[in-house]
């Protein structure tokens, strides 16, 4: 048991994960934005399976955290929302990805022992 604790010494604890990103819906949004330069509301809705209201609130939360940039425009009479991952958002997502991989690898190693 003691050796398991020592093994996990350099592994960041799961409780330290970025909670803005860790929420499944926001994680799904960020994954799709991570591989694209930008995407609109309809694309994100179709890919994440979220409802319009839900997606709006999660995008607003990500925007408040500075992780995404939202552009609102009109095409004729139809409002169009385009979302883009910001530099800090990209870094935060990469840190999150690294942290969770390390944490899971650490816990997997401990479990095997």
């Amino acid at each position: 048991m003691a050796s398991d604790n020592r093994k996990g010494k350099n592994v960041p604890p799961l409780t330290d994960l970025d909670r803005v990103i860790h929420e499944p819906a926001r994680l799904a949004i960020l994954v799709h934005l991570y591989v694209a330069d930008r995407a609109d509301f309809l694309y994100l809705m179709r890919q994440t399976g979220l409802t319009g209201g839900n997606l709006s609130s999660h995008i607003a939360k990500l925007e408040t955290s500075g992780y995404v940039k939202v552009d609102k425009s009109f095409e004729g009479k139809i409002p169009r929302t385009t979302v883009q991952l910001t530099g800090p958002g990209r870094s935060a997502f990469e840190n999150y990805r690294q942290a969770i991989v390390q944490a899971l690898a650490g816990s997997g190693g401990a479990g095997k022992g």
Partner: protein, 218 residues
């Protein structure tokens, strides 16, 4: 390594984004327009200058068409562009290999007999060069999007180019049009037909999303 290939476990999501961008059939329609336009101007002397202008003119047309027909149905996404610095060496190498293969082939054929010069042989093998050039682009699109029809276009383009080149070299392709023109016309018409079928199926399968379902926005 190209940016899109360095995504690791996110490769699937990149594929989803790229597929979303090329699934509507407008991409092959644009390539078809380009090939047919080149086939039409090829016999006239303004070839190089005009050909350079075609892609520049086609990009905004393609963008507008997508905005009009595709984006309201499946949403808009701009997949990450591969940096030119990362992909140009690969494209350059591919074209160099093609050119070298064509020269070697021309020399072999010259050795096999006939009174043609190397320049004439290369001229005859232009359809193969064009065919493999288009095939390279189609193969890239297929591998990044996972859409199998682009593999089919790539194979057909390569085979058609080879067949017309061999036909030109052996004197089967004669008359007013050159082998390259026949290639451009045939591939252009094939892509136009393919694009039209895919586009009409796309419109049927993906109706315009109702704004009420999207929280009143797009």
């Amino acid at each position: 390594m190209a940016r899109s290939e360095s995504l690791g476990e996110f490769r699937t999501f990149d594929r989803i984004a790229y597929r979303n961008r090329v699934m509507d059939g407008l991409t092959e329609a644009a390539v078809a327009l380009f090939l047919l336009a080149v086939a039409l101007v090829l016999p006239h002397g303004v070839f190089a200058a005009v050909v350079c202008l075609f892609p520049i003119a086609l990009i905004p047309v393609l963008r507008r068409a997508r905005k009009r027909w595709a984006d309201p149905r499946i949403g808009y996404v701009e997949p990450m562009a591969d940096k030119p610095r990362e992909i140009l060496p690969g494209i350059g190498l591919f074209m160099l290999v093609l050119l070298a293969a064509a020269i070697v082939l021309a020399l072999i054929l010259r050795g096999a007999g006939g009174s043609y010069s190397v320049a004439q042989r290369l001229h005859a093998w232009e359809p193969a060069l064009a065919g493999f050039g288009v095939a390279g682009g189609m193969w890239y699109t297929a591998s990044r999007s996972g859409l199998r029809r682009f593999y089919a276009y790539a194979v057909v383009s390569g085979l058609l180019g080879l067949a017309l080149a061999a036909g030109s070299d052996l004197g089967f392709v004669a008359g007013r049009r050159t082998g390259l023109q026949w290639y451009l016309l045939a591939m252009g018409l094939l892509l136009a037909a393919g694009g039209a079928i895919v586009f009409s199926r796309f419109l049927r399968r993906h109706p315009v999303a109702h704004l009420e379902e999207n929280g009143g926005q797009r």
